[in-house]
């Protein structure tokens, strides 16, 4: 059984320091990490491979530096990694990105299950997982918090919803996106790291996956970011509320109500 895990390399925003003057996060020198949700996808892929046999492959579309993330995945126990890297891929929005990943999955061939993390912490859209399923016209299950059972032909998953959960069954091939409740990701071992440093990671380009050039990169993306700006600066005045507990509570709730927060 072939399992593919899609990963993304993102900036580690929570390691940022705060500029004391602007009170905003300093972004220089922030290192790149595997998108945290993808660690759960990798862990699940490794556990499923150990249970069912077969192969688990990690793929990543990104700059050359993203190869480090694929090596880290191999250090964890992934069988092999493939980097999708080319100038033509740059600037892709989620439509184009999921198209490229879908083409790569088709190229790998005979894939039964694709596992993605719920969302990436830089874009936060959560669109790529279902997007891949749509491009491939495969079944999908998102917000998967547990895999109840799995065989060579089907999978039964528990999907999280705001108001509870449901259990559904899908025949392969299928795409699932996972949430943090699903497992506890392992950390790489020293031996794994040493092995991964020597591994060969192939790079695939548009021709390798038969991608239609008009559907990738900036040109292939239906959405375009036209402007970015910083959020308004933090004010300097603290509004003070004092008095009896009841008075404080009333005043506070009033503040929340006039801001349409409750």
């Amino acid at each position: 059984m072939k399992i593919v895990v899609c990963i993304k390399q993102v900036p580690a925003t929570n390691e940022a320091k705060i500029d004391p003057e602007t009170k905003r996060i300093i972004r220089e020198g922030i290192k790149a990490i595997i998108n945290p949700f993808d660690n759960y996808a990798l862990e699940e892929g490794i556990q499923l491979r150990d249970k069912l046999g077969g192969e688990v492959i990690a793929i990543c579309m990104g700059p050359r530096k993203a190869e480090d993330s694929l090596r880290e995945a191999i250090a964890l126990g992934i069988d092999r990694g493939i980097l999708l890297n080319d100038k033509a891929f740059a600037g892709s929005d989620t439509w184009a990105t999921s198209y490229v990943l879908a083409k790569a999955i088709k190229k790998i061939g005979n894939v039964g299950l694709v596992i993605c993390g719920k969302q990436a912490i830089d874009g936060d859209t959560a669109q790529v997982g279902p997007g891949i399923a749509a491009h491939l016209d495969w079944l999908q299950a998102t917000y998967v918090m547990a895999i109840e059972s799995i065989s060579d032909s089907s999978i039964r998953v528990k999907r999280m919803h705001e108001d509870g959960y449901d259990i559904c069954e899908m025949r392969f091939p299928a795409v699932i996106t996972v949430v943090k409740d699903i497992n506890i990701p392992r950390v790489p071992s020293l031996r794994g790291r040493l092995i991964s440093r020597k591994c060969e990671i192939p790079t695939w380009k548009p021709d390798d996956i038969g991608a239609n050039i008009s559907k990738i990169g900036l040109e292939g993306s239906p959405t375009r970011v036209v402007k970015t700006q910083s959020p308004p600066p933090r004010h300097n005045n603290t509004k003070k509320i004092q008095g009896s507990a009841a008075e404080c509570a009333t005043a506070l709730l009033k503040e929340l109500r006039i801001r349409n927060l409750i």
């Binding site: 945290p36 880290e72 506890i184 790489p188 020293l190 790291r193 040493l194 440093r197």
Partner: protein
């Protein structure tokens, strides 16, 4: 542990290479050299566990992969609560196998990447999260009479809170204490020594000239150019705390290693 103090054995901290190191092979060689040098000079090596939540390699896997010698009296391994259950059990198994005797049990620093023990992983139903106290209990339950377990004492945390925590740690089986870095006399340490004369205390001496790096630890801002002589501070601490052992953090292996030969008189 009391023998370490009587024999004037310094405890020297050696940090494992970080997992994302680009020059891993070089870092491993440097680690190995430092470790061996500490042993050769009769000191005790102290290997940390993901300090500040920065994912690094474990002491036990470094010892195995690099085939490092283990001398029971000359090694302390730090162990914190940020591990998967299977990794924790494996670390303890290897420690027992390799006859590693001293473990420093701390709650530790996490990060989003590093997994945390859950209460049910260590058969604990009393608390909502796992602290060093619960980990101590688990280790003593699973490996009775195998290890000598130490704990941390932080004189920069609220006094009553910290002494109360220490009481629980001792009840759970703590056999020695290592403090946070001391700069000169510290009245909480004085109180600690008076309250618990039966437990060996090892005070930490900050061996880096950059005192301002301690600002976060001590809870107040130390100006960047504050003059500080680590060797002087160490000698002062020896005078003030003759009954204590010494833990040297950020020791300069190039320039300071030879200097500490003569400081413990």
């Amino acid at each position: 542990m009391i023998q370490h103090i009587l024999n004037r054995m310094y405890h020297i901290e050696v940090l494992p290479p970080k997992q994302d190191s680009e020059t891993l092979e070089d870092n491993l060689e440097k680690f190995q050299n430092r470790y061996l040098r500490i042993l050769e000079n009769g000191y005790c090596a102290c290997i940390t566990d993901n300090t500040m939540g920065l994912l690094s390699f474990q002491g036990t896997e470094l010892i195995e992969e690099l085939s490092l010698p283990v001398i029971s009296e000359q090694l302390i391994i730090h162990l914190n609560t940020f591990h998967r259950k299977d990794d924790l059990d494996n670390i303890l198994r290897v420690c027992k196998l390799k006859r590693i005797k001293y473990l420093l049990i701390i709650t530790g620093d996490g990060s989003e990447r590093i997994p945390k023990l859950r209460p049910l992983d260590i058969n604990n139903t009393d608390t909502e999260s796992v602290t060093s106290v619960e980990l101590l209990k688990y280790i003593n339950w699973k490996y009775p009479d195998t290890f000598v377990l130490g704990v941390a004492f932080n004189p920069y945390e609220p006094e009553e809170h910290e002494f109360e925590k220490l009481k629980r740690k001792i009840k759970a089986g703590a056999a020695f204490i290592i403090t946070q870095p001391l700069i000169g006399r510290n009245r909480f340490i004085d109180r600690l020594l008076k309250k618990h004369p039966e437990i060996p205390v090892i005070v930490e001496a900050w061996m880096s000239k950059k005192l301002h790096l301690l600002s976060e630890a001590v809870g107040y801002e130390i100006p960047q150019n504050t003059a500080y002589d680590p060797i002087s501070n160490l000698k002062i601490l020896h005078r003030l705390y003759p009954q204590c052992g010494f833990y040297l953090s950020l020791l300069g292996f190039k320039n300071q290693f030879e200097l500490i030969r003569d400081t413990w008189i």
